[in-house]
Every structure is written in structure tokens, then in C-alpha cells.
Symmetry: C2
Subunit: 337 residues, 2 copies
Amino acid sequence: MAILVTGGSGYVGLNVVDALARAGREVVSFDMTRPPPVAAAQLSALPGRVHPVDGDLLDAAALERAFEAAPIEAVIHTAAVTSGPARESTEPQRVFQVNVLGTIGVLEAARRASVRRVVVTSSGAAYGESLYRPGLMQEDATPVLPTTLYATTKYAAERTARRLAELWQLEIACARLGTLIGPWERDGAAHAHGVRDNFGPHSQLARMAVMGGEAVLPPEECTRDWVYAPDVGRALVLLADAPTLPHGIYNLSAGIDWTGDIAAWCAVLAARFPGFRHRIARAGETPNVHYTDRARSPMAVDRFEADHAFVATRDRATIHRGFADWAARVGRAWYAC
Amino acid sequence: MAILVTGGSGYVGLNVVDALARAGREVVSFDMTRPPPVAAAQLSALPGRVHPVDGDLLDAAALERAFEAAPIEAVIHTAAVTSGPARESTEPQRVFQVNVLGTIGVLEAARRASVRRVVVTSSGAAYGESLYRPGLMQEDATPVLPTTLYATTKYAAERTARRLAELWQLEIACARLGTLIGPWERDGAAHAHGVRDNFGPHSQLARMAVMGGEAVLPPEECTRDWVYAPDVGRALVLLADAPTLPHGIYNLSAGIDWTGDIAAWCAVLAARFPGFRHRIARAGETPNVHYTDRARSPMAVDRFEADHAFVATRDRATIHRGFADWAARVGRAWYAC
């Protein structure tokens, strides 16, 4: 039996496909576009088997083809528009169509195919206003006050999945992801089918290190609830496989304060990529590295840890080494694509 | 200048149109269907002027016609699918399309027409799980945990409106309505374009009183945060007219414990409609009066009161007299339509 990964060419999706292929699993990867050749090459070298199926999430017939490509036991639904303010202003309906109606379409197809479980990826962004208050974000206790359309659609998709699980007797697990850092992030603005508007600062720096250039950083470092992308891939597979689901919703992140991580990452990149230079912007100078949001409080991760015996990597050096190794391996073939 | 009321033939919408027409205002009433003739007759006897425009909320050209029917100063957006479990199970996408994409469409059209303000009607249902806990629902402090698709779409529409207000520099006020009791409710199941699946117990009883028959009540009365429908109509007009909007979101209800209201309403109906009988179901007997949800905690209403000098009617006798007078006036012409 195979796992169907929707959005299998995206940032979260590629990390899920990578984790599954690494574990020797059979995967159907559904997306509008194929991943760049360097990703396909890396994935095909792993023990698992990946069947790509091309299609739009909102095309029911295409989705059906994905469910027919192999017998599907579970779905990990990562396809989404990760929208920034410009897209939210010009295409608000599209963001809802993909992120909410698309999720309903996946659940409808999963129900027809009698799959055992669907894992829905939500986002810590859903906490919205609460993220800028002190304290850990708790799954049930913290008010969910989404501010962006992206966050609003993520919360709506969560609650919709919960409702349809009840009405349709489906097994559904939702995970609110922290902000991923690590392999397989691309700048949405840089390719035609861009659906990822927020390209994280770690990846911006990795791209500069690989492509050459000088990073000009904002004077104040901004921390987020960062989580190592391969951890997210593995953890989502755990949610798909878990024999029981004590909860329907889980925070999935490292859950710690990462203060100083950008400076540390710059130092690692400088040691690894000799041409890479970095400095803080001078007074009045515009930085060329951008944070995609203000600093956020981290999420509580004890529920995921207790229910699924999973602890995200919290050792900065381990994450930076893994990410830099990957960046060196994929090199320009990834960042220029 | 006119006020555009979307869903002007619906329960909330007719109460808004009624309040505006009573105040001598000009109204454009946009809906898929015209209200029953008895409603049109009652409204046309009022001092205001109502222009009906027929169309589907999801048809951008039809919506455009509504904005062109008169110069529009403000919009009161009440159009929605008030879905029950059966519809949520069979048409989940449609509920989202109408309630969220439809709201985005109204905001887009309002922006193009440069209207001064849009009032978006949300629902106390948005509080979801929190409604079954003790304490008053507070706009910002109470966790919003919608359980149904209807509630999920209402919260999503609120947060979307808030976001687009910021991105587009629109003035938007949202109101979370309590459960309306009073004039102009129809049973959605009873007419072809039914979009209201939850026909309240007060209206079920009023229909029986008018049409004849015996009401068989559930053994335990269920209380809700009831609010007199004409109060909601007036209050939404206040939100549209208010010179300033200190808050973007308001609970709009009576905010009190209504325990015993169903029994009291039965007594009023029995005195007014001689053929009406009512009794509690015997052990094992199926009632023919239904509650549409479990008992809910009421909403805090101090914010609306403080900002807009509006207090909902809390005197049971006043509400019951007004509702019974209306039911006697419209009679079978309303409930048989």
C-alpha cells in the first residue's frame, strides 16, 4: 500500500516524500508540477518508490487519477497556497479555493477510496494574534485568531476536516507546523507555478551561499518557532502510521526559543561556502535578507511528544550541518531552478 | 443613498429590510428569490423604498447589478447558507462557496463601488465548543472553536473580512448574532431554494399555532442566546450608520439566560390562537418540536451596548407579544408559503 502526498513538489511535501522514500515506502506524489531534476534524482536514489501524478488539486478527475495510481492506505495533504499580502490582496478567492475547497476535495476522494487516514497539514500561523503574545501556543487553550488569509484558510481547513471526520466517519489528524528550515525550499516568486510567497531567511542565506553574493541582514534578528524540515517529514509520516490517534490536532515544531540562529547559520555557511559574505545593514541601507513575519512565540510540543514518541531536533549544530550538507549537495542545480 | 442588503429575502435579511423600510430608507434587496407576497405587501406599506434585485451571490454580474440599482452607501451582508448536518455532509464545498467566497465577492464589489462600509453578519455559532462551557462569550477572549461547517465558514468570513479591510482600506464591521426569534423565519426545508436548515423552535410553534395542530415538546427545554429578530435588524442598521467603529467585531444578542421561554411562548400562543394545543412528549414518544442545538451559554453584549448605545429587548412579554401580533397578521399566507 502507498501513501499519497498532495503537494509532493512543495516544501513540506518534498520533505514528506523524502522521509517516505528514505524508509523504503511506496509514494504517490501529486502536484501541478514535477520537482526540479536534482530533487527527482536525489529521491530516486533512495530505497522507496515514488510515482508522480501531475494535476491541479481543484481538478477532481486529476485527483482521482492520483488515488488510482496505487492502492492508497493514507494521505498526507500538504498542497496549499502559502500566500503573502500581495496575493491575498489580488487573489483572495483562489487562496480559499486551493486551501479549503482543495482540502474538502481531498477528503471526499479519500472517503471514496476508503483510505485509512488523512493527515492534514495546518500551520502555527493559525494562532495569529496570539503568536505575538508571550507564552507557548497550546492546541486547545490558546485563542486561534488568524490574521492573514493563509492562516484563516488553515484554521478553516482544520475545523472542516474535524467536522467531516465526524460526519463521514473518517480518521483525520491535523498538524500545525512551525516554520520549516532546511532542505527543499524554493522561492515561489522565482518559478512560474509559484504558490509559496514566503521564502524563509535560512533558505535566502543558503541560496546566497550557493549562488554567491553578500548577505545584508536586517539590524535586528527575528526569531520564529523554527523546526527542521526533515523532522516535519518524518513526524507527518508518524501521524499517518500511528496505530491510535489520541488527539485530532497537534502542534508540530521544535517548541524552543531560537534566538541567535540566523547569526549562527551565517557563520556555518561562511565556513562551508568560501565565497559567502554577510554583514548587518548600515543605517539607512536596505537589507537583502527578509523576515517573512515578526518574531513569534513558540508552540507547546508536549502533546505530539507524549502521543507519538517524537522529539524534534533542537541541537542547532546538527540542523545547520544537515542543512549545509544538503545545500552543498544540491548546489546551483536547486537554487537556480 | 441606499443600503444594499444581501440575502434580503432571508430571515436576518428581511428583518434588516423591515427596519430600513420602517425608518423610511432606500434599500436594494439582493437575493436568489423574492420574499413571499405577504412579506412584500407588508414591506411596501412601510415608508421606505425597496428595490429588489434577483441573483445568485456567486454570480459576479448579478451582484454588480445590485450595486448599480441605486447609489449604495453601505452594504449589510446577510446572505448565507445556514446549513444543517445533512447539507454539510453532502454539499460541504457549496457551504464554503456561498458563505466565504460569496463574502469575498461582496467585499470585492463593495470596494469597486467605493461604498462607505460593509457590515458582515457572523454568528455566535462561531464560538463552537466554547458555547457549551459556562460563562459569557467574549469577542476577543473566548476561544473560537467552531464545530459545524456553518460556524467554520462564519469565523473564516469574519477573519477574511478583517484581513481584506486592512489590505484594501475598507471599513468593515462584523456582528456575531445570537439565535433570532421573531418575525420572518421560514423553514428552509419547505421551499425550493432552501438555504436555512435550522428552523427555530419558536417559529415551529408559531407555525403550528397559525396552521393548527398539537405541539409535542421535548421533555427538557433547551435554552439558547435568543435575541428578538427586529432588534437584530435595527442593530445591524446602527452598525452600518455609526459615525465611528471602535471595534471591528461585536456580539449582537440579548445576552441573558432565557430559561423557561419555550413554555412561556406556548402559553402566549395558546391564549392568542384558540386552536393551538401543546404538551410534553410522553415517555418513548417522539416530539414534533425540535431544538436545533444543545443549550448554549449566552454572549457578552456590553461592547455593542457601550459603543452603539443599543440594548436588545430583554422583556419576554414584549417580545412574545410582538412576535404573536406579527404571526396573527401574516397568518397562513406566511407559514403555508
